[in-house]
């Protein structure tokens, strides 16, 4: 059906692999994702998250260099977890997510070593922008106390005012900058 169109969405520098199948209906996946979020709430009393996992890894790295430094740093200390920063709930959540996404991608014929970019940017340029974008997004998530998972999805479903403000601000920031980075994507 929409086969060729689906290929176009993740085409990169090389011709699209012929095995890739279309994604699922977004509303259907949204409902499934909502049920995963609901299940997480029912079991743990907290929702999903992602940025915390990166903070845990950062604390682990800082701790490997100097445990005293971690104890003295208010941000690292929050993720130190009594000396076991990698035994972090969110880090294991992302570990599971990595496997789940791999299984889904494999079943859909969508696993391929590639750099995803528009036709008007080089691989190197795209990778540099991805690195920089990750840095900026991490800063934003730290300031906002959460990201698309922890604030937008998790807080949004509880009608948390801060989460709804965050969501509006994310779209405002991204739409505001979209014109200037259009060559990276279109």
């Amino acid at each position: 059906m929409a086969h060729s169109m689906a290929q176009g969405r993740f085409a990169t520098d090389r011709p699209a692999a012929s095995a890739a199948r279309p994604y699922w209906n977004p509303y259907l996946v949204g409902i499934l994702l909502g049920l995963v979020l609901l299940a997480t709430y029912l079991v743990t009393g907290r929702g999903l998250g992602a940025t915390g996992a990166f903070s845990s890894v950062a604390a682990a790295i800082a701790g490997a260099i100097s445990p005293e430094h971690v104890a003295a740093n208010a941000v690292h200390a929050k993720y130190w977890n009594d000396g076991a920063p990698l035994a972090s709930w969110t880090l294991f959540l992302l570990g599971g997510a990595l496997v789940g996404a791999f299984v889904s991608g494999l079943a859909g014929g969508r696993v391929r070593w590639s750099v995803e970019r528009g036709p008007q940017v080089s691989d190197g340029g795209r990778l540099a922008l991805a690195l920089a974008g990750g840095f900026v997004a991490a800063y934003g998530a730290k300031i906002a106390k959460g990201c698309t998972s922890g604030q937008a999805l998790t807080g949004g479903s509880m009608l948390n005012v801060g989460s709804l403000v965050f969501m509006l601000a994310v779209f405002a920031g991204a739409y505001g900058l979209a014109y200037f980075v259009r060559k990276e994507w279109l």
Binding site: G133, G162, F166
Partner: protein, 199 residues
């Protein structure tokens, strides 16, 4: 009240982390199925030719919201036991703007970068490394921001708590708005279809 289970039972560390992996599997599976391992699919929403990001997020939020409300209404879930991130309007507005800029530059958000890595995207890996550097730099260079967030925080704040209108009415309004938005997004995608990459 049975739920949340965490309010009545104590999970061992191993059990807790095991649950994290299981729930994470579902999380990652959904993200990849939606196409969120793809930076161009994600950023398409900012050029209006594919609104999947909004469709998925909105329907996920509405689904969880309706579920939370329904379970609390029949007395099986205690909403007060659920963790609520305290609202700090300035922090969430500023952080959101910065996050949005990083999102459109980098093509991913923290969770979707994992789905990208899982499907072999080197740019997803670069984004994740940038994130790691970002959270590290935040802790080292600007730990004072934490103090500012705490000082400016308004505290726990939800739409039902500040308006006095029940969560059920909001859930109903969100469902209605989603149906309307679904129609609108379809129109938008048709109008901007020319931007859809052909290669």
């Amino acid at each position: 009240m049975i739920f949340p289970l965490s309010s009545t039972m104590e999970f061992s560390v191993a059990a807790g982390l095991g649950l994290a992996v299981v729930l994470g599997f579902g999380f990652g599976f959904c993200l990849e199925r939606a196409g969120f391992g793809s930076a161009r699919k994600l950023t398409a929403v900012f050029y209006f030719y594919d609104m999947a990001v909004v469709k998925v997020m909105f329907s996920a939020i509405v689904t969880a919201m309706v579920g939370l409300f329904a379970l609390s209404a029949i007395g099986t879930l205690d909403l007060a036991e659920l963790y609520l991130e305290p609202t700090s309007l300035a922090a969430q507005a500023l952080g959101g703007l910065v996050f949005g800029a990083g999102f459109i530059m980098g093509g991913y958000c923290p969770g979707t970068a994992i789905a990208a890595i899982a499907t072999g995207r080197k740019d997803g890996l670069a984004f994740a490394l940038g994130m790691l550097a970002g959270v590290y730099a935040y802790a080292e260079l600007t730990p004072g921001i934490e103090t500012w967030i705490k000082a400016t925080a308004q505290g726990e704040m939800t739409l039902p708590s500040i308006t006095g209108v029940s969560m059920g009415w909001f859930a109903l309004a969100f469902v209605a708005f989603l149906l309307f938005a679904a129609w609108g997004m379809g129109r938008l995608e048709d109008r901007f279809a020319g931007l859809r990459p052909q290669s």
